[in-house]
């Protein structure tokens, strides 16, 4: 059932700036890892450079997550670990409640962090090896096991991105609980933002330029998905009678749409950017990428801000 009309008499949880930026960085951490894995597994050997950028981006974004989550707990910041370990007398042990997205999400973040750290370290080791060999990016380590590791990490990454939306839906708050779309919407938006981020990073890594057009193309697909889910989101909250609450943050919604539009424009024009196209073509593509990527990332942030603050 998609129609979830409800009358709400609830108090807002005051999940504001820290949570907004946590959602943003979790989206980029998970999205970058998932894209890096895809680039490595289905891409060409020349995509390895961009894949490593993805693993680096994922690791750095992951570092922000626990800091933001812990800071959000304010005076109880030192009890963050209670999410993982139940300290109730007589009921001690690991704390995992599959029906509570916050519990699922915290575990996903903890386990994913290991994958993000290991993959970033592997990329670092490979980069050092390549530098001494002065050649194209070498093969990833671990063979089949290494690939399996990336796949498991990629699945956790996708869970990390989407659970943030499900967490909002599994509440009794207006807008959030009136739709099932948020998990998918945040996932599509996270993938889009991550594609834009990796594309942006290719400016600083010449041997990753090969993947630029592919990243824009992928970003285009993710943005189409995001747009479809955004429409579905509005249909569900209109049906629930809470869409009016979104009007106050119209500029943020428009900014989110600008981000989606930028992705689509970039995807349309830059499906195939190759270094073979000449230095001028690549340089222009990189300038365009800078503008597009920043707009997309701003859109990713704006979408989350619009969703979070509309209900509170």
């Amino acid at each position: 059932m998609i129609y979830l009309a409800a009358e709400h008499f609830v108090r807002a949880p005051q999940w504001t700036w820290y949570i907004l930026f946590y959602f943003f960085f979790a989206g980029l951490a998970g999205g970058s890892y998932a894209l890096a894995t895809l680039l490595r597994l289905v891409g060409e050997p020349r995509d390895e450079g961009a894949a490593r950028l993805g693993f680096y981006a994922s690791f750095v974004a992951t570092l922000f997550c626990p800091v933001l989550l812990t800071t959000d707990l304010a005076a109880s910041w030192w009890k963050f670990w209670h999410m993982l370990i139940n300290v109730t007398p007589g009921d001690q042990g690991l704390n995992f409640k599959y029906w509570s997205p916050m519990s699922v999400g915290v575990w996903a973040l903890v386990v994913f962090s290991v994958f993000a750290a290991v993959s970033a370290f592997e990329s670092f080791v490979l980069d050092r090896r390549d530098r001494s060999a002065m050649g194209d990016p070498g093969r990833p380590m671990g063979g089949v096991l290494g690939r399996a590791f990336n796949i498991v990490g990629g699945i956790l990454a996708l869970l990390l991105v989407s659970y943030t939306g499900v967490l909002l839906s599994v509440s009794n708050q207006p807008i959030w609980s009136d739709t099932w779309m948020l998990g998918g919407l945040f996932l599509a938006s996270g993938l889009s933002g991550s594609a834009a981020l990796i594309a942006l990073m290719t400016r600083y890594r010449p041997n990753a330029a090969f993947s630029l057009g592919r990243l824009h193309e992928a970003d285009g697909y993710f943005s189409i998905l995001e747009l479809v889910l955004l429409v579905a989101f509005f249909i569900t909250i209109i049906a629930a009678g809470t869409a009016g609450m979104t009007v106050q943050l119209l500029p943020l919604w428009l900014l989110a749409l600008v981000g989606i539009g930028s992705s689509l424009v970039a995807a349309r024009g830059q499906m195939r950017i190759r270094p073979a196209g000449g230095a001028a073509v690549v340089a222009r593509a990189r300038t365009d990428t800078l503008v597009v990527s920043l707009l997309v990332l701003l859109g990713v942030l704006a979408l989350r801000a619009a969703v979070i603050f509309s209900a509170q």
């Binding site: 108090r11 949880p13 894209l35 289905v42 704390n95 997205p101 989407s162 599994v170 009794n172």
Partner: protein, 267 residues
């Protein structure tokens, strides 16, 4: 006669709003016993209500609902003012317990819902989930607070402070089965007097599986700021749907990535 309180039995409140006089003795008794300082007084411009809401400092809140009929010459039938001493409902299917990731929210041996302050880490997931706007953050402790149904008093064999202080017995405390029986009798009496709008809220399992703190209302639940049975949904109702859409988006996203990144012949 004092109620004998036995661990293992279900206890609760039956709040009969038809005899509430809005004296706020319950609020005062609650604050006294639980050492709640209360919020700073402020002008709310909201009739006689200067408490405003249930929150970390107000675990009982007497709502004053202006329901004066437009035709003031008519008899009010007790509807001129609706007064209701609101409190945590101690739901059988508690939304707050459902989502709490730390296990801080537990069901006690008296079948009430209790937040363990030493376990709670202030994530506020319970606040997002509570459909009655009961739970709030205490900024100084960094934890979520709400009515404990005087857990400490129950352990000592004492009835909750609010029920003890209520001068009209609008708030009744006791074993749930006895309260439900008393509520049925009271409802039948009111209806036999022609007060057909009287209704019980949370007496049966239509709202969150039944409420340990249930009410006799003199109007529909929405008038009191309570979700009706149609709108009383647990947060977990969105669990499967939310993850399902996430999964569909993940599959489509991966397909999109594969299409974009796949190996292909150079044109």
């Amino acid at each position: 006669m004092a109620t004998k309180i036995t661990p293992g039995e279900s206890y609760g409140f039956f709040t009969d709003t038809s005899i509430c006089i809005g004296c706020k003795a319950c609020e005062v008794a609650c604050k006294e016993w639980n050492q709640l300082q209360g919020d700073s007084p402020q002008f709310l411009a909201d009739s006689y209500d200067n408490t405003g809401q249930l929150d970390a400092q107000n675990w009982r809140h007497v709502k004053f609902i202006d329901n004066v009929p437009d035709q003031s010459a008519n008899a009010g039938d007790g509807r001129a003012w609706l007064m209701m001493s609101d409190v945590c409902k101690h739901c059988k299917h508690a939304s707050c317990m459902d989502v709490c990731p730390t296990g801080a929210i537990i069901r006690t041996e008296f079948d009430t819902v209790f937040i363990q302050q030493d376990v709670c880490n202030g994530c506020r997931n319970c606040i997002a989930a509570c459909p009655y706007s009961v739970i709030a953050m205490n900024q100084s402790t960094g934890t979520a607070h709400k009515c404990t149904l005087c857990y400490d008093r129950l352990q000592g064999g004492l009835e909750p402070a609010c029920a003890k202080a209520c001068p009209t017995q609008s708030i009744k405390f006791g074993p749930l089965a006895e309260l439900q029986q008393a509520a049925d009798v009271r409802l039948a009496a009111l209806q036999s007097q022609g007060i057909t709008q009287a209704q019980l809220y949370g007496r049966d399992d239509k709202v969150y599986g039944g409420l340990n703190a249930f009410f006799l209302l003199m109007d529909k639940p929405e008038t009191y700021g309570l979700p009706n049975a149609d709108n009383a949904g647990l947060p977990s109702r969105n669990d499967v749907g939310g993850y399902l859409i996430g999964l569909v988006a993940a599959v489509l996203g991966v397909v999109g990535g594969i299409v974009a990144f796949r190996r292909r012949r150079e044109s």
